[in-house]
Symmetry: C2
Amino acid sequence: MSTGMMKIGVCGVGTVGMATLNILRGQADSIASRAGRSLSVTHVGARTQYSEHDYGAARVSQDVMDVARDPEVDILVELIGGTGVAFDLIKLAIAEGKHVVTANKALIAEHGNELIALAESAGVQIRFEASVAGGIPIIKTLREAMAANQVSEVAGIINGTGNFILTEMSTKGREFEDVLAEAQALGYAEVDPTFDIDGTDAAHKLVILASLAFGIPLSIDAPFKQGINAITPADLEYAATMGYRVKHLGIARQRAEGIEMRVHPTLIPESKQLASVDGVLNAVMIAGSEVGELVLIGPGAGGAATASSVCADLIDIARQPRSSSLALGTPVASLVAQPTIPNGEIASEWYVRLTAADQPGVMSDITHILAAHDISIESLVQQPPAAGEDQVPIVLLTHLAREAVMNEALQEIMDLEGVQPDSALIRVEGFDH
Amino acid sequence: MSTGMMKIGVCGVGTVGMATLNILRGQADSIASRAGRSLSVTHVGARTQYSEHDYGAARVSQDVMDVARDPEVDILVELIGGTGVAFDLIKLAIAEGKHVVTANKALIAEHGNELIALAESAGVQIRFEASVAGGIPIIKTLREAMAANQVSEVAGIINGTGNFILTEMSTKGREFEDVLAEAQALGYAEVDPTFDIDGTDAAHKLVILASLAFGIPLSIDAPFKQGINAITPADLEYAATMGYRVKHLGIARQRAEGIEMRVHPTLIPESKQLASVDGVLNAVMIAGSEVGELVLIGPGAGGAATASSVCADLIDIARQPRSSSLALGTPVASLVAQPTIPNGEIASEWYVRLTAADQPGVMSDITHILAAHDISIESLVQQPPAAGEDQVPIVLLTHLAREAVMNEALQEIMDLEGVQPDSALIRVEGFDH
C-alpha cells in the first residue's frame, strides 16, 4: 500500500509551526509506520526573524508563496493565521495541486466554502482539525465518527483563554482585568486579546462545528456573540451558591425553525461534565440521534497539542492521498443553508441580577413587571444589605423566556425608582434533552 | 469520487443488529451523501426466531455462512458475538474478499492478530470501533487522531454495567447483589453477568486499547483482572469521606520495563473527570506525548449508540474501500511485543480497610508491620466502635508500594490476634503525570 515519501511545506514557524516540525522529526519512524510512508518537511516558509531556527535539510523561503509554487511539495501546511496572506497562499497551493492542512479558524470560518470548493475541483484535500479545540479531535468525530447521526446540538468551551479567566475569577474571586493581565503574561492570551474576550474566536470555531454538525455552509455572520468582560466575581459567586457554574460557551442547536448559533457566558448546572472543565482546557458536547451525548475534553491550545492535530491531518492525507476531501463531511455543493434564529427569539432560562433599594414595594414592582411579560420566576434570592448599605442585590432565576421579552422586562425594571443601573442578564442552559 | 452502491450483509439481528438496520434505512440519504455512495443491506443472517422482523428487500439466511459466501456482499457486519461461529464467519468473509465490521471485543482480543493479518493479506479492511466503549470513537481517536503521539497511558471506565452497579452502590448505599439484580432486570447486565462482574469484558476492551496505544500485538492474557463483587458500600463511603470515588477501571500504561495492564476497582480523586462519570456511561482518558490528556465520555452500550459506531465503520470503508486496513494503526507485522509487568510488581498508593478489636496494641502492631515492609501511611482513620461492638473499622491510605509487598504485609496483619478476616485492599490512582 505504501508508496513514496510525502513532501511537506510548512508556512509559519511560530509556536505551532515549530511544534509541527519537531513532531515530524522526532516521531518520524512511528509516523511513517502509521502513514504507510515517510513524511518529510522539504520546504519551510519563514520570515527573516525566524531564520536562525534549525530546519534540518529543508529549503527555507522568506516568501511563503515560493513554498506553494514548489513542485516538490505534496502538502502545504498553513500556520500563519489571519485572512490575508494565508488566504492567498492556500488558494495558490490548491491551484498548484497541493493538499492543504491549516489551523486557521478565522480563514476557514470566513472563506472555507470557497477554499473547500476549490480543493474539491482540484481533487486535493483541505483539512483543519487544529482549527477548533486544539488537540481535541472534534472535527474528525463530527465528520466521521458521527456520520450516521443527525446531530441536534454542539456545545462547548472552545476558547481556552476565556475559560482560564472565568476559572480564575470563579475559584479565586479575582477581577476580570487582573486575570486577563496574568493570562497575557502567561502567553495564554494574545497581546491583543480582543478576539478571545469578545467571543470572536469562539464564534469562528462554532461556525466550523455547526457546518459539520448540521450540513450547512460555513456562515461567518451567523453566531450571536457576547464576551466574558461583563461577568463579575459576584455573579460567579451567586451562580455557585445556586448550584451553577458560569462558562463561556459556544452553542449551535438544530431547531424546527432553523439553527441557533450563539457564543455567550452561560450558567450550567454544576453536575454537568462541562461545568467541571477548568482552566485552559476545552470541551465539546455533541448530541446525536443515535449515539446520544458524547463529551470530548482536552487541551484547546498550546503548540504541541495543536501540532498533534496538524500532524494527524498530515497522516490522514498520507494514508489516502487520493481520497476525496469531504472537509465538511459532504461535498460543499451538498450543504444546505438554514435560517439562523435571531438571538432575541431564542428562549432559555435566565439568571438576573439587580441592585435595588432596600425599601417596601420595589420587589413587588419587579415581580409585577416580570409577570406582565409572562416571565415566571423559578427562584429568587434577596440578599440582606451589607452594613451601612441601603442597596441590596437581588438574584433570580426564571423559567423559559425569549431574550427579546427578557430585555423588555429588564428595561422596565431598570426604569423603576429605586433600581440601580447595574444589572446582569445571563442565559441558563440545563442541557436536558 | 463516488462509485456504485455498497452492499452490506448483516449477521446477528439482536439489539445492535436491528439498530444497525434501522440506521442504515432511516439515515440512508445523509449516509449516502457522507459516504459518497449509497449503503444498502442486501443480505441478513438471522436465526429462525428472528424471522418475523422486517428486513425490507434484503435476502434472509438462517445460515450466516451464506451471507459470507454471497458474491454480492461487499461488507460483512458480524454482530453475533462470542468466539465460535463469529470467528469462522469472519475468516470466511475475509477469504471471500469482503470487508468486515464487527462489535465483537472478545473475538478481536483473542483472535484479532490472526484476523487482521488475514485481512491485510486479502487486501480487505476489518474495523471494530463498536467493540470498545460503544458509541465513543476511542479506536478512531487512538488510531488516527493521536497518530503523531507516543501514548503513555490509556485508562477508563469501559464496562457500563459495572459502573452502573458501583454508582448505585455509592450514591444509594445499596448492596452489590441487589443492584446486580436490578441491572439484569433493566437489561444492562447479561443473563449471565460473569464477564461484566469479574472484569473479563473490560479486560477484552483493554487489550484492544493497549494494542492501539502502544503498537503491541493483541494479548488476551496480559491484563490482571479483578471484579467489582468484593466492593462493599462501606468502602465506597469511606472512600467518599476521604475525597475519592471508586471506579472499576481498565488501565494500560507504558513503563520503561514494559506494559502495565490491569482491570480492577480503583480509588480516584473526586476532582478527576473520570470520577464524575456515573451510571452506564463509559469514559476513556488517553495521555499522549504531544496532545497531553484527552478524555472522551459517552454511552458505552445500548443498541443505537453501538450501531452508530458500526455504521461509522461502514461509512469509512465506503469512503475509501481501497485504503489499507491498518486496523491497529500499523500493519500487524509492525507491532512489537513488550513484556507485561506482573501485577505484583506494580506500585501504587493503596486503600486498606481492616476490622480489629478495639484494644491497646493492635494499632501499634499494624503500623509496625507496615513500617517493617517500608510501607508509609498517608492517612489513617480509626472509626469509633458502633454501640455494643468491640470491633472497629480501620481505614488507611498508603504511599507508593508494590502489590506483592502490600499482600505480604496484609497477610501478616491478618494473622495478628484481634484482627478480623474481613479486609479490603484497593489501588489508588491519582493520575498525576
